[in-house]
Amino acid sequence: MIIFKNVSKIYNDDFHAVDTIDLHIKEGEFIALIGPSGSGKSTTMKMINRLIEATSGTILIHGQDIGDQDPVLLRRNIGYVIQHIGLLPHMTIGKNIALVPKLKKWDKARCDKRVDELLEMVGLPAKEYKNRFPAELSGGQQQRVGVIRALAGDPPIVLMDEPFSALDPISREQLQDELLNLQTKIRKTIVFVTHDIDEAIKLADRIGIMQDGKLIQFDTPEQILRHPVNEFVRTFFGADRMNQLESLPTIEEVMIRPISSFPKRGLAESLTKMRKYKIDSLLIIDKSETFLGVAGVGEIQKNFSNENMVLEDVMNKEVPTVRLSQQLDEAINLISENQVAFLPVLDESHKLKGLITRASLVDVMANQLRSNNNGVAPVGGEGS
């Protein structure tokens, strides 16, 4: 949909406002660009509608190089919402919204219909608001109009430059919710510049983090929170958000002592052991504790009549395992992906160190939640 290929913006004084950015934005995706001021996020966005021209590299929209297009026509097909709202104070709300449709030479009836439709969409009754002037509306209402004005010409792409940052916190929250709602209906490709991390996490499908003109990381909020690429991202996203993840217990804390056996042991003996510990599988190790496989109660039962068989013959060698050095969330993923009840924990030299089961996870998580609630309430949607 929108593709940046090696795009740079260099000013005369050799200042790299945007430094060789590669970016691939998919159709219908909500992208947030975030970074400290001067990081080039706004510049990056403004290059999409050529309010700022790239010094080098190409930007493609629908596979076409925007450098070859008339910037004026290009902009009429890209919605644009700015921080300072920018409604034309000498025109009514209706005329403000109809601006781009008029520029695109829609007929009057179609313009009127579109204006009414959009006003209703953000809960401003057309009859009441159409003929008012921007100054008669509250800040929140004005920016609602600003947003629908950007949608008026039905552009596939909408650019938003810190659209809610000048609003009071309550209106901001409301408009964010409305925008999310709206987006589920209209599915536009949205590029949203912000310096508010909570806003980015709340709204965006993917977040691009910028620093000194470079795109440091471009990923889903989830992945960025879990795997910040460097210290900058970590501190930028704030210790609080990261700590919630880091306070996830380690594998070592969660794992329990496994019930193991050796490959040459007989089946009857093994069944007795399993009954004693009330377990359905035995972990098989050799003398040096190297993990060999798992013998399940089903396999043992099936071959029980064969007195010559030992554990080695019935064990399953192809079981998912986890390293001690891995993160707990990876272990959880493994369990759910493979639909297994447990994961053997191995060290670097393949020695069996422990076992993670669904039950042991629940125990630890429950403790975790309890202690979190005693301290700070966990923020929804971020941790696990």
């Binding site: 509608n49 309010l51 700015i82 920018g86 034309l88 104070p89 601006l99 004005r149 650019l159």
Partner: protein, 209 residues
């Protein structure tokens, strides 16, 4: 008694006063027309070429500092005497207020609104005519108003370069030491100034966005 005399004089001189007033109005309107014709586009142009602005506005300010009588005097060696040179001098006088107000008026338009317009796909001409000029109009009008009042005042001096107008009557009155004659020129000039100012003020209010 004295008032009666004044009225009789007015009656006798009425055609003369009317001619003077008419010439005065002509001088003013033509000078303002030329002044606007130059200053409005120039002011707009300067907002697009801001590096030039300081120099150009500086030069017009220098003209403004030349005493009006001296400026009219300067015209004589170049353009001789009469209506033409007076118009040149008056137009130069009208330039600065219009130019400066047009320039600052347009620059003063909220940049966010201009950005929004450009970002929505307006051509720079559309931005100018749909956003910048409408929003700057009150300030531009104020400049035209200032210029008008100034030109009406300076136009009384145009009589000195043979351009006629109400100044003719005033200067004749001064030469003949006749106060009634001075007033016969001064009062219409003052009225003219007030009427023009009032009309333009109404226009200014009418164009308020």
């Amino acid at each position: 008694m004295m008032f009666n005399n004044f009225l009789i004089m007015l009656q006798n001189r009425w055609p003369e006063i009317m001619i003077g007033t008419w010439e005065h109005i002509q001088l003013t309107l033509v000078a303002l027309f030329i002044g606007n014709l130059i200053a409005l586009p120039l002011g707009i142009l300067l907002t697009r070429k801001r590096k030039l602005a300081e120099a150009v506005i500086g030069i017009t300010s220098v003209f403004q500092t030349i005493p009006s009588l001296a400026l009219l005097g300067f015209m004589i060696p170049f353009f001789g005497i009469g209506f033409g040179p007076a118009i040149v001098a008056l137009s130069i006088y009208a330039l600065l207020p219009i130019l400066r107000n047009t320039y600052t008026g347009i620059l003063g338009v909220n940049q966010a609104v201009v950005d929004a317009g450009t970002g929505m796909g307006m051509t720079s001409r559309q931005v100018l005519f749909m956003i910048e000029i409408p929003l700057a109009l009150p300030i531009i009008m104020a400049g035209i108003r200032t210029a008008t009042v100034m030109v009406i005042g300076v136009a009384t001096l145009a009589a000195l370069v043979g351009a006629g107008g109400l100044g003719d009557i005033i200067f004749r009155g001064i030469a003949m030491a006749r106060q009634d004659l001075i007033l016969a020129g001064a009062i219409p000039a003052a009225l003219l100034s007030m009427i023009f100012d009032y009309i333009l003020k109404r226009i200014e209010i009418a164009v308020q966005p």
